[in-house]
């Protein structure tokens, strides 16, 4: 058979081969389910090791499965944006509580190839730190205490203060009378692990305010 035809035939077969097979046929390709009963019709029993299959089926009774999940993410620290793999226990079932148990560099990520700096390598401790900030907190002027507040309060307060500052310090025209629309008294520092799309939108919002003091992933 000429090679090209042979290869085309191979392609067609490899597509169909990965599907299920007829009953009572042995196949090296296609999905299979191993079970104590299944091993009764197998290479094992055909060579006189059926008792080993039975011993296996008996030993399995005392075992239990435990699920771990590997999730890809990006390190939160700096704009290098190293890839990380996060391991969590729990199989995402409704009533099972998940917990992050391990974080390592993603060996498939072209930026860091599995490596992490000491800060990145300590990410697990950040996740579980008892001092980690988990809700907005507010220290009123004159007070020395940070009090937990709602997101509505925090965002409303930030918006009001930004508007107040922008109204007071916005520079529409420079000394020569040219229109410049600058707001230099407030700055913005955006997340390191942004995608191109997030960086684009962040940039548009900051610049629409006239904000000049601004740093985000789009700079890198």
């Amino acid at each position: 058979m000429p090679l090209v035809r042979a290869l085309a035939a191979w392609h067609a077969r490899s597509a169909s081969d990965t599907r299920g097979r007829l009953a009572v046929e042995l196949s090296r390709r296609g999905f299979i389910k191993l079970s104590g009963a299944g091993l009764a019709v197998s290479s094992l029993s055909a060579l006189g090791f059926g008792f080993a299959g039975a011993a296996l089926a008996a030993s399995v009774r005392s075992f239990k499965l435990e699920a771990t999940t590997e999730t890809r993410n990006t390190c939160t620290y700096c704009s290098v944006a190293c890839g990380i793999l996060i391991y969590s226990i729990g199989d995402r079932a409704k009533n099972a509580r998940s917990n992050i148990i391990h974080i390592e560099g993603d060996p498939d990520h072209p930026v860091n190839r599995g490596t992490l700096c000491p800060k990145g390598a300590a990410l697990l401790d950040i996740v579980h730190a008892p001092t980690r900030l988990q809700m907005p907190k507010y220290r009123a002027p004159g007070s020395n205490e940070l009090k937990p507040v709602s997101w509505d309060f925090a965002l409303g307060r930030i918006a009001a203060l930004m508007k107040q500052d922008r109204d007071a310090n916005f520079v529409a025209r420079n000394a020569a009378g040219t229109r410049v629309n600058r707001w230099t008294s407030t700055g913005m520092l955006a997340a390191s692990a942004s995608s191109s799309e997030t960086a684009y939108v962040t940039w548009k919002i900051a610049r629409a305010f006239g904000m000049l003091v601004f740093d985000n992933q789009a700079r890198v």
Partner: protein, 310 residues
């Protein structure tokens, strides 16, 4: 620490990448170590194992495979023009079900059976050897074709295991004669770039030039190829991939399950056990297969030495 001195004027001799390398796309097998390693690992795994007798038998089979793998004469190198043509077409150059076998594989089978027959084994296993030796060339070739192409009957389950073992030796020697830089991974990343077969298991490395990367090991020719981690090797999905392990064991063997295609593939973690061998550890962790199978997932493909009726 000394500080404030004049900076060195010598040329900097460091590595600008800090020694971090991209993983090699594929690692060709070495017939001199491939089966010997599996045999040694099976012997050590058999200790106190519920399937100890069978694992010791499989260790002796791997030793017999080793004898066949290092037996002269050297393998004929495949035609380079055909290899290049297949690689350009993104096809496996030694496609298991299209490759025209030379009779070298039957010499390997004879060596393998001679070596294996010297060991004690169940009467059934030795009678299957006797029956296989009694078959004529055409019947043995037909059995090999059925194994590679599909269509193997249950009656041949025993003989097919010896044939599969001999074909592993033949394809391993053939793959070893290829030139790795001239090969490419297939668009179907779950299949072997040399012979197009399914892998037996994956190994997540913990040492070498690219620690932490995953290599899938071909069930037929023993070639290892790189595959992105945390992605289902059957359907390429990553949304619902999970690792199932047996509670309280070393964690060296885990089943990577996918809830999109409802299959799983076994992954071995070198970080948990530096001695893992994909061919040996797959056989010694059938308990994991049974548990995961009972939980509803199907194995991505059979181990050629443990074919099961479907």
């Amino acid at each position: 620490m000394r500080q404030g001195e004049v900076a060195s004027k010598g040329a900097w001799a460091g590595n600008p990448q800090g020694g971090v390398k991209a993983p090699a796309p594929l690692l060709l097998p070495d017939p001199a170590t491939r089966f010997a390693r599996t045999a040694a690992r099976l012997e050590s795994l058999a200790h106190l194992h519920p399937m100890a007798d069978w694992l010791r038998f499989m260790a002796r089979l791997a030793q017999a495979q080793h004898a066949a793998a290092i037996m002269p004469p050297p393998t004929e190198t495949p035609d380079q023009a055909r290899v290049d043509q297949a690689v350009t077409a993104r096809m496996p150059p030694l496609a298991a079900d299209d490759h025209a076998r030379t009779k070298a594989w039957r010499n390997g089978l004879a060596t393998l059976l001679d070596r294996l027959a010297q060991n004690p084994m169940p009467a059934t296993a030795s009678s299957v050897i006797a029956q296989l030796r009694a078959r004529d060339e055409n019947a043995v070739e037909a059995l090999a074709d059925n194994f590679l192409h599909g269509g193997l009957g249950v009656a041949d389950a025993g003989a097919a295991m010896y044939v599969a073992a001999a074909l592993q030796v033949y394809f391993t020697r053939l793959a070893a004669s290829l030139h790795a830089p001239g090969l490419r991974l297939l668009p179907q990343r779950g299949l072997c770039p040399c012979c197009g077969s399914t892998p037996v298991a994956g190994v997540i490395t913990a040492s070498g030039p690219a620690p932490g990367t995953r290599y899938l090991y071909c069930s037929l020719c023993g070639t290892a190829w790189n595959h992105v981690r945390a992605v289902c090797i059957t359907c390429g999905g990553s949304r619902s991939v999970s690792l199932e392990g047996i509670e309280g064991d070393t964690g060296a063997a885990r089943a990577e399950t996918c809830n999109e295609c409802h299959t799983y593939a076994k992954m071995l973690y070198q970080a948990k056990d530096m001695q893992v061998d994909p061919f040996a550890d797959d056989l010694a962790t059938l308990a994991l297969d049974v548990l995961v199978g009972e939980a509803g997932w199907s194995r991505h493909a059979a181990n050629p030495l443990v074919l099961v009726g479907t």
